[in-house]
């Protein structure tokens, strides 16, 4: 019985999606000075950007349930992340100058830290 349970758990783990990074891009046009890349998000202070973000999977299984996936800022005084009403969409707000972590969470577990940098407006 134990063996069967272990086998089942192993199978489920092997058959599920395997985190392989974050696919993220700006919805619409980015404001001047803003850059959104899979490893780094850089925004000008005060700017707000809506992104389409979804975890990539290394296995054949993809992440299908948006509720299992979360994006969260490690320091909400620097950047704040809001879940949008549309699936896989997020709104990132550059609140104060600094650098923090945009945490990629799947089932509450931290998979990756995407650098979130908020820069002062040039000039």
């Amino acid at each position: 019985m134990r063996r069967a349970g272990a086998l089942l758990a192993l199978c489920l783990a092997a058959c599920g999606p395997d985190y392989g990074g974050l696919a993220i891009e700006v919805e619409g046009a980015a404001l001047p000075g803003d850059a959104v890349e899979p490893r780094r998000v850089s925004l000008v202070l005060g700017h707000v950007v809506r992104v389409h973000a979804r975890p990539r999977s290394l296995s054949a299984q993809v992440y299908e349930d948006p509720k299992r996936f979360d994006l969260a800022s490690a320091d909400e005084t620097i950047g704040r992340v809001y879940r949008d009403a549309e699936d896989w969409r997020w709104v990132i707000v550059a609140r104060s100058v600094g650098t923090t972590c945009l945490e990629v969470l799947i089932d509450g577990r931290r998979e990756e830290c995407v650098e979130l940098e908020v820069e002062a407006e040039a000039g």
């Binding site: 619409g28 404001l31 000008v44 202070l45 005060g46 700017h47 707000v48 809506r50 809001y82 879940r83 949008d84 009403a85 709104v91 707000v93 550059a94 609140r95 104060s96 407006e121 000039g123």
Partner: protein, 297 residues
Amino acid sequence: MTRVRKRTIAEIHESEAMVDTHPRMAGRLRLALLLAPLACDPGPAAQSVPTMSGELQRGEFEYRCAGSNDAFCQDFVAQRFPQRFAVGGFFEVAFNPSVDVVAVPAVESSAPSLLEPTSSGGVSEFRFIRPGTAGLIAVINGDEIVDYLHITAERVLSYDFSDDRGGTALTEVVIEPGELRTITVEPRGEQGQILAGTLEYAWSTDEAEVARVASQTTARSVQVQGVAPGTTRLLVEGGEVIGSVQVTVTQLDATTSSSTTGVESTGASSDASTGGDSGTDTDTDTDTDTDTDGGAR
């Protein structure tokens, strides 16, 4: 302000169902539904509040006057949604969702260090602390975003002067001793556009023995009074920049039918380059940096 509440799909279905099951009520209900919007009609005398669609197209941001000193406002009603805001100018914003939401969204600032919320009570009031672009965010319960809108602020670079005789873009005001003239100022930005927001103004004249400020006020309009023949400057300070217009007080017997002139366009750089003491200009003695570096101070 009048808001027309949108009926939810459930309410529409409910009323349709009632019509089907209660034929007697059908006529009354239809009549009531037809008359309902009329009851909310503000009428021709009412002015609508200017709005701007949110960038997610889920509602409209309303611009409201925070005071009478806003060049975008007349009798506390904004004429249109501003394109540019004056650093230091107070203004109010509300949000009307066009989608179903569970609560009335509050409007917040994306970056309080840039766009400072100064709200008191339930009104969302803001002012820019320095030039830049910030987002107005419509949020429910503090953590659910509905929509947002970016707005931009500049420092005031120059002023446009007008008077109560219809003169605009004034460079000179000509009055007689004892005569009162009301002068109104509009703050202008880098491209010469009017900047929104309620600012406080300080008025003075260079030589009070020629002309004096007759109304001690921090308003956008002031009364200047001729004292004795001569020439002086009427100075205004608001938004950290000083502007001026020449005031010429003529002899009483040299009365002219049109005592107001003014055709030159304003613009701190052009006026400063000529070094002219006359005309509408930004005081380059104290604000050279502001004029040349685009406002960063």
